[in-house]
């Protein structure tokens, strides 16, 4: 089989080659420049974060041996040879895990309810007044940007040590995050039902209740479930600052070098997070599936 490969005359080729080289060269230069800037930023950051490679290399063995140690029981055996001894405190830990789940559940529910009340004011198409939208949006932004654990630190002082501070911190943070997502759903909702209901002389409240809410509840539920999943992780560390849950046990075990307890508690946390991830994923699939069918 013969193929005709057209070979350009030398002169024409030279022009094209030059243009190609120039184009590629410019892109290469820009890439190199980007890499140089990035490397400079990294070097600066290395100085800022007191990175010491020698420390890392001397201590990296410690990191590996740390895992060796947390997987060893007091009598020098591997943890999985004596599961009863390893998970000796399972009653207490399960109770704390239950508390963690309750904290995230109550926090998510309160946060979702607050977000539900606020999101209609934050959405562009349903907000009754521009100034109200501005205020609510800034409020949600604030609640979203300040990390939950900072709220927990402050609430522990205001409300006292205990799960209450954790619940409220998670509730506020969820309000901010869910309020934004909810209002985006409302902004994507169909406005024709709202116009239909308003044309009958209904109030703003009835417009929301009968025209918007039926369109958006499935989306709300899906986002709230996703948030619950995130909040379980967050609640597991709330105990670090004294705001209840399993984190309290974990931080004590880590700080006091109860090695096998650390691995046992980590295991229970990881398993719980897996279970919650899988079950909310299944539930969300069902919700979305139902929505798609109708």
């Amino acid at each position: 089989m013969t193929t005709a490969v057209s070979i350009l005359p030398e002169q024409q080729l030279a022009v094209l080659n030059a243009a190609y080289r120039q184009a590629v060269g410019r892109r290469r230069l820009r890439l190199l420049l980007g890499i140089a800037v990035f490397a400079a930023a990294l070097a600066l950051a290395g100085i800022g974060a007191e990175v010491n490679l020698r420390t890392l290399f001397t201590y990296f063995g410690n990191f590996i041996s740390y895992f060796d140690r947390i997987l060893t029981l007091d009598n020098g055996q591997r943890v999985w040879t004596d599961v009863g001894e390893w998970l000796w405190g399972w009653r207490k830990w399960l109770k704390m895990l239950g508390e963690t789940l309750l904290i995230s559940y109550v926090g998510t529910l309160i946060g979702a309810t607050l977000a539900f009340c606020l999101n209609f004011f934050a959405a562009e198409n349903t907000s009754p007044a521009p100034w109200l939208r501005f205020v609510v949006r800034r409020l949600l932004e604030f609640a979203r940007t300040v990390p939950g654990i900072v709220f927990a630190l402050i609430f522990v002082i205001a409300f006292g040590l205990g799960p209450m501070a954790g619940v409220l911190a998670i509730a506020i943070h969820s309000t901010g995050a869910l309020g934004k997502l909810f209002s985006e759903i409302v902004e994507n909702a169909d406005m024709k039902p709202v116009e239909g209901i308003r044309s009958t002389g209904a109030s703003w409240l009835s417009c929301m209740r009968f025209a918007v809410v039926p369109q958006v509840t499935a989306g709300y539920a899906s986002y709230a479930l996703l948030r619950f999943e995130i909040n379980v992780r967050e609640a597991s560390v709330m105990g670090f600052v004294g705001a209840g849950g399993i984190g309290q046990e974990l931080v004590v075990a880590i700080r006091k070098f109860y090695y096998s307890d650390v691995s046992a508690i980590l295991l229970t946390i990881i398993v719980t997070v897996f279970i919650i991830d899988i079950s909310t994923g299944w539930l969300r699939g069902r919700l979305f599936g139902k929505e798609a069918r109708t």
């Binding site: 974060a49 420390t55 109550v106 300040v146």
Partner: protein, 282 residues
């Protein structure tokens, strides 16, 4: 008017029995779920020691705290705070870069189109899942035990916990890549490494760069809080000032965090748009 409505309803009832006479189970499902949700809520409130008196006492305390926060004032420690903020940004940048560098080769192992055998892929994925299941704060505590207090522990904590996230995200990006280019390289006699370098990487690098930038952004937030357990950065200052009840300094630090996060959001948004935009053009 009313008469016509009545006729309409009766006719409609006869025509659409499914809508008007739904089985009891379908009608009761939603209220039952709501009641159950509220029952758990009430149980939770009782079990977690909620009481109105405690709540309102705390609320008034919170009101006092808020009043004492105004106006935000760093006192004489502004230079220390600026240095701490720089430390936080450094932690986020270094931790994310380190995670990305280590996650790229591992994510190739976790991608179905690069490693078809399940034997290697399954354990790699489970390890990544377990790493992701542990919060950054917990990793910070572990690293503090290993390298001591300070920002370096923070860098390593962010690097480890992002390693899990990146491994998953990158491998998904690689699985979503177009196989035709890989086949083209193989057809022209390239080795498996050539396939990855010239067939896969050019496709996935822009996606990966976008994700890394997004993580630098979100890690700025994480880096502010890992200081609370002693891993350096502005969180350390914040936790200290909260513990000694210096509320004016606390509010100043929170404002600093908000401004820094907004600035990083803005910059990385621009950069991400530039990368993705260039990809859309090409």
């Amino acid at each position: 008017m009313t008469r016509r409505q009545a006729v309409d309803t009766r006719e409609l009832r006869a025509r659409y029995p499914d809508v008007f006479d739904r089985p009891a189970s379908a009608r009761l499902a939603t209220p039952a779920m709501i009641v159950a949700a509220f029952a758990i809520l009430i149980y939770g409130l009782v079990d977690l020691d909620f009481s109105p008196s405690r709540f309102f006492a705390g609320l008034s305390q919170l009101g006092w705290i808020t009043l004492m926060m105004i106006p935000p004032d760093p006192g004489s420690s502004l230079p220390i705070y600026l240095k701490a903020l720089g430390e936080t940004l450094s932690i986020a940048l270094l931790g994310t870069t380190l995670a990305a560098v280590f996650a790229l080769p591992v994510s190739l192992l976790a991608a179905r189109n690069v490693v078809p055998s399940n034997i290697l892929r399954f354990p790699v994925r489970r390890v990544l899942d377990s790493i992701r299941g542990v919060d950054t704060l917990i990793w910070a505590l572990v690293w503090i035990n290993v390298v001591g207090l300070g920002p370096f522990a923070g860098v390593l904590a962010i690097a480890v916990s992002d390693f899990g996230a990146f491994g998953k995200l990158f491998s998904e990006a690689i699985e979503g890549a177009d196989q035709k280019q890989v086949e083209g390289i193989r057809a022209s006699g390239g080795s498996p490494l050539h396939e990855i370098r010239f067939g896969l990487l050019p496709q996935v690098l822009p996606v990966i760069a976008g994700q890394v930038l997004y993580f630098i952004e979100s890690n700025t937030r994480s880096a502010t809080i890992i200081g609370i357990v002693g891993a350096g950065g502005i969180g350390l200052q914040l936790a200290e000032q909260i513990r000694v009840l210096e509320w004016q300094k606390v509010s100043f630090l929170i404002l600093m965090i908000l401004v820094a996060v907004a600035a990083i959001d803005f910059i990385s948004g621009k950069l991400r748009f530039a990368i993705i935009g260039r990809r859309a053009v090409a």
